[in-house]
Amino acid sequence: MNHRDDVDRTLEAWFRADAPSTAPRHVLDAVVAETGRHGPRPSWLVSLRGDGMGTPALVLGRPARPLVLLALLGALIVGLIGGSLLAGGGPRFGLAVLPTPTAQPTGYVPPEPTLFPFGGALPGVDVPAGLNPGTTAASWERHVAALLAENVRQLGWEVGLPKISAIRLLPPGATYTTTLVDGLDHGATGFTAERLSWAIDAQGTMLTCGTRCAVFAAGTFFFDDASEALLATGASGSTSPIPGVEFRSWLRSYDQTFRPVADVPKGALSQAAIRARMQAVGEVTAATSVDAIYGTVTCTGLSQTCQDRGLAQPGQTREIWWIGLPEIVLPAEAFGAPGTAWYSFDAVTGEELLSAVP
């Protein structure tokens, strides 16, 4: 019997084997903490905004009342304009005027970070060249480490993310560059549990990104970890002390706390060779760009990830390459613009530890 005749059964078996049985604890913790800060929206607002999916009525099991809502909204707008005219102020439309972001600390403290527009380009912000990591992986002198969950709280995170993060140890007072590990736009929901990359100088001073580091399409905004004051936008910001001497002390002995990961050397295969191998299996075209930036993964254990990679023997390696695939016929939204990214892998388990794309 050809096992591929039954895609349904294959899929179901795959899903059964692949589906996690439980959600990570930190997900529930984050949800409980975040929802604890807000109450549910009033029902009239839910009707106006929808249920978060842009479909206000049908999914909620009630009749739609768009005309009533539109009429109410129209009346409200007319009332506001009329009131404004009567008051002599003239009509004012559009978004609130934002302070012009600068590359230096401004001391400007927004009432809430969510005043900034979410998504899309931020007018007037030119992303400084130094904001992103260099164009090659070699320009990153990185220490990738496993951050222990219990230490996350010492960074001031209300809800710790027991995730891998990156720490760069820089000379005191040095300017720094940073990039966001998770570039997701969380929308206007006020979620603050983004995963971040941290920059910390040799004295244990956190240079950027405490509990608040809102990243938008065209710039990065650094907030003081303690006060949540906006420190700077763009490439540089003033230092923000890490709360608590305990953490500073702990950081100095990070060798014992962190589990250092072997640096990832570049791969040995040429671009032409890698392209030829991909072409051989029909994955790329001659025009596809291929960048040799990752290097190798070496598994010395027998974790599932290692086995999934086909690395069951100690010392076996696989080469990791990044490739831009604009030519592949897939939905356009599936691919961002080609660029350079960097990845790090645990040399023991083969787990992907950290990734970042400019």
């Binding site: 996690p20 839910v46 479909t55 299996v281 695939l325």
Partner: protein, 185 residues
């Protein structure tokens, strides 16, 4: 019992909402993880969906539809997560001869899984969601269409296209599994 909790949550009872979430989060997370193929994205999608659920729970008129509503919020959160993620692809090249599990069954299983993963990653998020809702949640067509927010006809055609693509991916099994592809951020 759940209906009571939903009613209490609609009144702003955070403890009731927490109890509801605690009972549902594992299934939602598994669904998101299967659709998105990424722990991190699944984390984000489930958090996003549940926060939206809390904020919008007063708009839920029928407490009996709470579970279906959560599923739908989660699926849509998966779409958002997939859309907003700058996608990159990694290709892993075996520098040494393939040396997987020693048993023949193990090799076969690994190869199929590899092909499925590759084929699944190629699907649009909407197609992946259809496959997961149909084959993992095992919902009747009407309920699956409701969760996905699409007509039943669209569900069926989308499912057929997705399965055709996966069949094609599996048909490539005879190729030597020298490259593993993953979509990453």
């Amino acid at each position: 019992m759940q209906r009571d909790l939903v009613e209490q949550a609609r009144q702003g009872d955070h403890a009731a909402f927490t109890a509801l979430v605690t009972g549902s989060i594992n299934g939602l997370y598994a669904t998101a993880r299967l659709i998105l193929r990424s722990d991190d994205l699944a984390d984000d999608a489930v958090q996003d969906a549940l926060l939206r659920a809390w904020l919008g729970i007063r708009g839920l008129r029928d407490p009996d539809r709470f579970e279906a509503w959560l599923r739908r919020l989660t699926v849509h959160a998966c779409y958002r997560a997939a859309r907003h993620t700058r996608r990159r692809r990694i290709f892993e090249i075996h520098d040494l001869p393939f040396s997987g599990p020693t048993t023949a069954d193990g090799q076969l299983s690994l190869a199929i899984r590899d092909q499925l993963e590759r084929g699944f990653q190629r699907l649009a998020p909407e197609q992946r969601a259809v496959v997961v809702v149909h084959h993992y949640l095992d919902l009747p067509d009407a309920e699956a269409a409701d969760v996905l927010g699409i007509p039943i006809g669209t569900l069926k055609s989308r499912l057929n296209r997705a399965k055709s693509a996966l069949r094609a991916a599996l048909a490539a099994e005879d190729r030597e599994p020298t490259i593993t592809e993953g979509a990453v951020r």
